[in-house]
Structure formats: structure tokens, C-alpha cells
Symmetry: C2
Subunit: 245 residues, 2 copies
DNA sequence: GGGCTTTTTTGATCTCGATCAAGGCAGCCG
DNA sequence: CGGCTGCCTTGATCGAGATCAAAAAAGCCC
């Protein structure tokens, strides 16, 4: 499924760039250094969109004609083999950028795992503005570099860590990314089902469940209603994940 | 160990940018769109360097002050846990770019696996030129996007493929990347030892060896002198790697 | 609440790849 | 040539996580 292209008429024009800025609040916003006329283009071509859980945002192998910034919610990026085996290759939280301008042939599918609010742009707009505004290009590049670094960290997890370490690593990752401003959350709701966690960790749901139980029994975490995780001591969780701090 | 900083006096000035261009020949070279004065800066600040196998180019956690383009040879990027478990998170062939300008905190170590010729620049130079030349910034960004795509492909391999598929996948990867101009090589020398292959695939050397034997006995590959691989039918190798073409 | 589905947990067993242990083979140097 | 060293291969056994199976808990709709 493609990202919708129509600008959302219900939003006032002034709201949209604020959303974009919010998306990249950590660094002052993607639109931060654009000229007034460039900002006006963004306003005209940008659409807000709300996506329900389990709805595909970008399909595997689509010619991707749009990009988006996540305003709220969690998006999973996954790859699938012909026989159905699946691997989640990235989790994106607000205010991450979705899509690969400047590169066409990267097949992966993006799917909302919670309710997601997006700020959608045409790919061509981003590419044009990036060519005009070096700082925008640089900032998108830095975001890509961070994703590359995260992907490589996860390769270490997938290739060399035990099931228990992987689960602890996942919990640590969610704790640190769920609130993008503050440090690691002490208490949070898991955005993913056990099946999705398994697909992210290269494990089965049974193994994920058993390792969560194990961490719970060892007192590393507390679990309420299967979804809510409480971490009394983040250091202890990191040790269980073999994260050297 | 840091990359050497001294420009190599033995190289004529005219040779160096040619080397850079050669590094990025597929797209016309990193230096392709620079002005004459920018090119002169590159000439002044660039050093050629030859690196022996198993020599570290950039250490894990170094404050990385240099970047490099690979002119010849193969470089492995790896991450290690405190207890010694290791994962190779990327293999770079000529004419790949090494280093992460614009981003400081990504800990990984780069090590030559064959004799490697590099073209070394100060990080600051690249960052300055990229700010001035939007096309250079864009091209570096595209290279990073490709690496991200490759890393995510590898996550699928690490998370969901069997030992045999992983080994076949690795052979296919080397076949396609060892000669950057042509298509997949039908015959090539493995640049990595069994131990390095194991670290790349998240397996042990024994399992790697057994799966190579198995692929050999099934006629998917022929092996000469343990290092030389002959692939009679690349399609068959891809099928064994579960690569959907 | 009661019946239904879906998700998660727990238990029993199996299997692929790890581990432990030799043995083979090539390169190197005397 | 023979002994040595460092990879690589092969064999035997073990174990972490997969698979198969079922029970328990939560959500959902009436």
C-alpha cells in the first residue's frame, strides 16, 4: 500500500511545518533551516496521516514515491523470505524519518505496530529541497548513519547473543527509545506482540515468552498485564543484555 | 590504531585525486564535482597508505579523525563484546568509503583482511567539502543508504537463515562484490579465513567448514586449495542461499 | 456474565548447530 | 627430507532453542 498523497485539508497550513519540526525536535527540525519559500512548498505538499496497527505503510518492493516523519507511534521495518520467514530489521519511533530518498532499490516493508501519526512528503520534494539546502541533506545523512549504527549493533545481537540477552537487549532498546527526550523509561508498555518481538530477535514466540518469564523470576523486570514492563534497575537489565556501558 | 595523517610525499599530486576518483568510479568519483581549488585541498590533505592483513585501521571506540576510500583489498568491520564474542558487521570492498563523518559515537573496529590500499583524508576535510558541495554530500549519503540496506539484508540472514543458507549467502556476497565492475564472479579466492567467515555468519568455524563441505558434495560449488571457490551455476548458489532474485 | 477467539504461557520432545576432541594437510624452516 | 606450526576438516556428543501440544489468561461480542 502506498502512502496517501493528498494534503490533508483539515489541517491549517501553519500546523504542518510545526509537525515536521516536532518530528526532528532533537536537532531543531528538518525544516529548521529552510527559507520561507521552501517552507511554503513543504506546507503545500505535506499531508498528515493516521495509520492503524498492522497496516502496511510501504510495501516490500514498492517503488517508493513518498517519505514520512513519524509524529507519534512505533513503526516496524521488516523483510520476508519467499517461504514466509520474517525478520524485523528496524523499529522506528517518533521523530524518526521513514523512506529512502536518493535510493530506489531497497526492498523492505514498513508497518504500524501502534496507532501512528505520520507527516507524509513526496520523495521528489525532499530530494529537491535537500539539493538546495545542504544542512537538510546533512541532517538526513546523519539520521541514516545513526540507523546504520543501530543496525550493526543489532547484527551483533542477532549473531552472537543468547536468547536471554536478546530479550533483555530488546527491553532496553524500547525503554531508551519510547520517550525520545528523557533517558531510559523505568516503566513502559511494550509496543510489540510476542510474535513481533520474536521476529525482531530471530527467535520463536515460545522462547521469547520463556525468557521474559525468566527475567521476571530473577527480578530483573516486573510484568503487568503481559504488556507493561517495570525495570527496577536499568543497570541490571543492561548487564543481562551484555551491553557494555 | 589511527590512520596515518602525513600526506605521502612519494605520490605525485596528480595521482591522488585520480585514486579518489577511481574509488568511486561507478558514479564518477567523490571528487568528481569539486572545483579546482577544492580538488587542490584534497590533493594536499590526502595520503595513500598500504595496510597488511590483520592490521587494525580504526579501533573500536576511537575518536575517528580520519576517513578513507578503499582502493584495493577487503576490510572487515566488527564489533566485540566484553567476553570476546565477535561479530563482523560489514565487509567493505574497493571502492567503498570507510569512516563516519558527521557522526562521532559509533564504536566499531575496521581491520584489513587482505593487503589493502587506502586513500586517507582528514574527517574535517570531508565534512567541510560536503557542506560546500551538495553533490558530494548526496553521494556520501547514498553510499550510507546502501550500507544500511546491506546491513538489513544481513540481519535477515543472521536472524532467520540456516547455517547452509548463511554460507551460501556469504559465497554469493563475495562473488558479487569481489569484482566491483562485473557481475558475480564464477571463480574467486575467499578473502576471509574460516574463523572470519564464522564471525560474519554468527556460526562456529566447524559449522562453516561442514557446510562448505556439504555444498561441495552437492555440487553447488567446487573448492580448490581451501581458498579458491568455483561456482558452476550462480542460480543454484542463490537458491541454496534462499535469495529471491 | 457466558461463549468465543486470540494471545500468551507452560510442558515435553526433538534437532541443528555448538562444543569437545582428533586427525589431516599445507606452508615453513632447519 | 622431517619436524613444527597454524589452519581446516571430520567425528562424537551435548545443549539451547525449535517444534509440537495443550492449558491459561485476556480481550471481545452478544
Amino acid at each position: 500500500m502506498q502512502i496517501m498523497t493528498q494534503p490533508n485539508q483539515k489541517n491549517s497550513h501553519s500546523e504542518i511545518p510545526i509537525a515536521c519540526v516536532a518530528c526532528h525536535a532533537r536537532e531543531g527540525g528538518v525544516c529548521g533551516t529552510l527559507s520561507p519559500s521552501q517552507l511554503a512548498q513543504v506546507v503545500r505538499k505535506t499531508a498528515r496521516r493516521r495509520v492503524q496497527p498492522q497496516i502496511e505503510i510501504i510495501g516490500q518492493g514498492d517503488g517508493i514515491e513518498h517519505c514520512a516523519a513519524i509524529v507519534r507511534g512505533v513503526v516496524k521495518l521488516s523483510k520476508m523470505l519467499a517461504d514466509g520467514r520474517q525478520q524485523i530489521v528496524g523499529l522506528q519511533f517518533a521523530p524518526d524519518f521513514l523512506g529512502t530518498p536518493f535510493l530506489r532499490e531497497c526492498s523492505l516493508s514498513a508497518e504500524a505496530v501502534t496507532n501512528v501519526d505520520l507527516c507524509v512528503f513526496p520523495r521528489a520534494l525532499i530530494e529537491r529541497l535537500a539539493a538546495e539546502a545542504p544542512d537538510l541533506q546533512r541532517r538526513l545523512h546523519v539520521e541514516t548513519l545513526k540507523k546504520l549504527c543501530a543496525a550493526r549493533d543489532w547484527m551483533l545481537t542477532l549473531g552472537r547473543k543468547t536468547a536471554k540477552e536478546r530479550v533483555a537487549n530488546f527491553l532496553y532498546l524500547v525503554a531508551t527509545r519510547i520517550n525520545f527526550e528523557d533517558g531510559p523509561a523505568r516503566e513502559f508498555d511494550l509496543p510489540l506482540s510476542r510474535a513481533d518481538i520474536a521476529d525482531y530477535l530471530g527467535l520463536t514466540i515460545e522462547t521469547v515468552s520463556r525468557q521474559i518469564t525468566r527475567l521476571r523470576k530473577e527480578g530483573v523486570i516486573r510484568v503487568e498485564n503481559r504488556r507493561r514492563i517495570i525495570v527496577p534497575d536499568i543497570r541490571r537489565l543492561m548487564k543481562n543484555a551484555s551491553i557494555d556501558s
